[in-house]
Every structure is written in structure tokens, then in C-alpha cells.
Symmetry: C2
Subunit: 298 residues, 2 copies
């Protein structure tokens, strides 16, 4: 430990942990004991002042006060501190007996909707095309990581912000429900295709505690342009991820730490399709459900 | 570290910390870097699951959502985890060249009011006497820790719950503003005296996240009976503390970890005073302001 622990009561933290009663489950006791020890070690290590502690308490209250059914500021604070990305890494660490790896996961974020409609291959998720929107034909295959065979009837769920950086339910004036959302099923060859937008970089909201925290950290609030994906099939481990255009200026400094090398993709000019000016081929590899995870909690 | 850190990206936490920009103050960088490292170490150590993380996010949002100008649930969560008591210890650790120590501090809690009126020695802080209330004559002296001389004109601020466990602003039906609150000044001999209630043990509120956390920890929500005190004088370090009757059944298991041995007091039967049936003598020792603290932050 970096601090002189002898200055403070050496039994205090143990006393708090030992107050946990016998009816608490082993897992809850393990998690909460670790949480208490880290919170106390943090306070001792930095010799947290009363004013700093109260600033933290009021910050925590403000996080909840600005949250509602359409805004999850607690999740956003997690994201700014890298915690959602870390939890994602912990959940998806897989020890495989092969050199190949499945498509990397990335954070869900607060904008997924359970209500996105199923659409047919070849349809568009764009209800309202913004003036500066660049329509993209996105297509590819979903394959088995081990056998390399195509996976038919996989569900390919996509959601993205419009070119103003807003998702449908954040932007009811300009976007109808389920604009830029949709679920597709792969065909018997594991193939999918649909029309979407080239994504646009955007800022996290600047009216709440997350932006205050970013200012305190002297960091920008920008996310690189990205498309959210969730690909699933009953026989495979699902993957929730994001993909990022390779020329985005915020790839290296994503404010929620969600970029991974294999999630950076290349949008290419498309000729001969009156519906789209860009093309993106994106292929997904899913790991069978019965592969042992590295983590006991998967 | 208790976990096999090699399983996870060894650079992730450093990347998040190194994103802190140059305009962040040294202190904020130090505190937030430690916070990020402890939060990440906690998540890796327990291999925090996605569901557990999201439960924590929703818990944090709920803490703010139930808080308002009369309720600080964030502070209550701190208290249940021992953090306010620990911050209090950190703030008040004093390295003295004497065997004597000043009156121990204890946590402020969420019920202090800046509006308590000054009252004259000998007056009562009881506006509404509950049927089961036991009136106590409380008296004593405030002395200099080093010289032992009495301190005149010290401010003795007291607040306490009524026998139903509620403070005035939690209980507007039964209590008028500033019931069971008052500020007194010590006389030229450092003496104070007034009438108050023998305090009553009470439960933390059971309708919010703090009670959910206590249930998860299999702990009771009870605080031992106590009287809050804040004693101050321009030439001395102020002390915020609480005192506890020695026969209270919750002394060993105070749900906010605020009891210290020298804060346990003895209420005695009082004869010959028609206004009170109990007596409490309580003397306070204050340290001069110029004594060096152990912590650099005092």
C-alpha cells in the first residue's frame, strides 16, 4: 500500500466488514467486502478531506437526480471512468484452444432498445434521412468461430445515432420511434445486408455530472463515430459490440474507452447502387456456447 | 493483489488514468487516479459481472432519486459503509506531544441545521415534550486541552431526535422548527447548562437504498441513542461529535460506526429539580488551533 496505514485505526475496516451478517450470500459478502476495503483504502491513501468526501456525496446524489427512464447518468459515469469497458472485458475473456478469437465485444451503452423491429434483409433502418447523412450498404456474414461454417437465422441487431449525434428517443422532434434501429436475420448462408448511415462522432451530454467529471479530468466528451451491434443465436455466445470508421479523429481518445483494434472498419465508396454512396462489409465470428470461459461468471 | 492480474489487459487502468489532462490540479489528479485504480482493482478482484455492475449503477441512480433538500441518501450510504466515520478519523488525527487527547470527534450526520437558535444557559431545547420523554439537565465545562483552563464564550451547539427517532424537519406534524436544537455559550468559567431529552435509539429510514444495502449486508438499521454536539471557539479546533448512554444495546453495532469509547456517557437520576428527572455531566476538551495535525489537509 502506498500510505502509512499505521497512522489510522488498523481494525476499522475489518470491523465494518465483520459486521456483515450470516444471511448474506457468499458472493455478496465477497463483493461487498472487497468494495468496502477498496473504498476505505482509497480514503486513507489520499487522506480524503471532509470537503472532498461531501463533494463526492453530492455528486452521487446529482447523478441519480438527473437520471430517468431515458437517461442513465450512473452508467455514463461508469463509462467515463472506464468501468463499463472493464466489466465487458471481464465478462468476455475467453480462454480458447485456438489461435482465432471471436469478434470482440464492446460496451452496450445506454441507448439500446428492446423494441427495435425486425426488418427484412435489403431494407433500410433510416426513417428520416438527415441532409448530411451518407447512406451505407452494410453487409457480411456471421460464421462459427471453430468450424468457420455460416450461421443461419442469427439475429443481427443494429442501432446508431443520427448525424446530429442523437438517438431516436433523445430526439423526438427529428426522429420517429425506431429510426436507425433494426433487427435482421441471417439467411441460410449466414448473410445479412441492409442500409444504414455512415456514423458521426458525437459528444456525451454536457448538462450533467458526467460532463462535470470530464471537466475535472481535463478530458473531451467526444465519442468516435460508431455503430452498435448485438449479434445472437441460441447455439452461440452472443456478442454486443461497436464498430468504428478507421479515419475517425477520436479513435485514440474515446471518452468511454470502448475502441478495440479489431473493431475498426473501412467504409468504401459504392458505385451503381442508387440507394447508397458507401459500402461496409463486416463479418462476425461467434463462439459456440459450450466453450469454457476464463471467468467463472460467464 | 489477491487476483491474477495477468488475465486482464495490464495497461487498461493506466490508459484511463493517463487520459487525465494537464489542466487538472495535482490534488484532483492524485485523488481521481487513486479512485480509478481502486474501482478497477475492485472490479477485477471480484470479477464483477455485468448484472452486478448494472445493479450498482441502478443503485447509484436510486440514491440520488430519493434525495432532496431534507434527505441525503448519498451521505447515509457513506455512513452505512463506514466512510463518513473514516473520513472523520482522517480529518481529526492529531499528533500531540502530550498524553492527553481532545474530545473525540464523531460524524456530523445529515441532521445538523445551520438555523438552530442561540438560547440562554438554563433554558430548554424541548419545544414539544413527548409522553415518553425523559428530561435531562445537561451541564459541564469546556477546557483547554493543554493548559486545562476553562474556555469562556465557546459555542455549544446541540441537536437530537425526539423519542420517536425523528428530527424536527423529518417530523413536521409533531415537532416545531428547532425543537431539540439550540446553541449555548459557555460562561467565564467555561460552564454551560440546559435541559434536553435522554436520547432514544432509532432506525435509519427503511424506505430507500440504504436500507436495501443493510438488508444485503444482513445488518440491522439501528443507531444507538445519541446526542449530537458541535463545540467551537475561534482560538480552538472545533469538535463535532456524538455522545451515547452507556446502557444502550446498540453501542457495539452502531449501523454507522460512530461510537468511540470516550463518547460513552452516564445519565444519572436527578433529585430536587422539578424540571428534570435525569442529569448528565459532560466536559469537553478542545485543542488550540496551532497544534500541528497529523494530516496535511487539516
Amino acid at each position: 500500500m502506498a500510505f502509512n496505514s499505521s497512522k489510522f485505526d488498523p481494525n476499522f475496516t475489518d470491523n465494518v466488514i465483520n459486521a456483515i451478517g450470516p444471511k448474506t450470500s457468499d458472493r455478496a459478502k465477497f463483493v461487498l467486502s472487497s468494495l468496502i476495503r477498496h473504498v476505505h483504502d482509497f480514503a486513507r491513501e489520499v487522506e480524503l478531506t471532509t470537503d472532498e468526501w461531501m463533494a463526492g456525496v453530492l455528486f452521487m446524489n446529482a447523478v441519480g437526480q438527473i437520471s430517468d427512464s431515458k437517461r442513465n447518468e450512473g452508467q455514463r459515469i461508469s463509462d467515463v471512468l472506464g468501468l463499463e469497458s472493464l466489466v465487458d472485458e471481464i465478462a468476455h475473456k475467453i480462454a480458447l484452444e485456438t489461435d482465432d478469437i471471436p469478434t470482440s465485444s464492446s460496451i452496450l451503452g445506454p441507448f439500446w432498445s428492446p423494441n427495435a423491429p425486425f426488418r427484412n434483409n435489403g431494407e433500410s433502418i433510416i426513417h428520416e434521412l438527415p441532409k448530411d447523412g451518407r447512406v451505407t450498404l452494410m453487409h457480411g456474414t456471421v460464421n462459427d468461430l471453430i468450424t468457420k461454417k455460416p450461421i443461419g437465422n442469427a439475429v443481427f441487431d443494429i442501432w446508431q445515432a443520427s448525424s446530429n449525434g442523437k438517438y431516436d428517443f433523445q430526439d423526438p422532434e427529428n426522429q420517429s420511434d425506431n429510426n436507425l434501429r433494426g433487427k435482421f436475420r441471417t439467411d441460410e448462408n449466414g448473410r445479412y445486408h441492409f442500409y444504414c448511415l455512415h456514423p458521426t462522432a458525437y459528444s456525451l451530454p454536457t448538462d450533467g455530472p458526467a460532463f462535470k467529471l470530464l471537466n475535472l479530468l481535463d478530458r473531451h466528451p467526444m465519442r468516435p463515430a460508431h455503430i452498435h451491434l448485438m449479434v445472437s443465436h441460441d447455439s452461440y455466445k452472443p456478442v454486443t459490440t461497436q464498430i468504428f470508421p478507421k479515419d475517425d479523429p477520436y479513435l485514440e481518445t474515446d471518452t468511454v474507452f470502448a475502441v478495440k483494434d479489431d473493431l475498426v472498419v473501412d467504409f468504401k465508396p459504392l458505385q451503381g447502387d442508387p440507394k447508397a454512396s458507401l459500402e461496409l462489409e463486416y463479418n462476425v465470428k461467434l463462439a459456440p456456447r459450450d466453450i469454457a470461459p476464463a471467468s467463472a461468471h460467464l
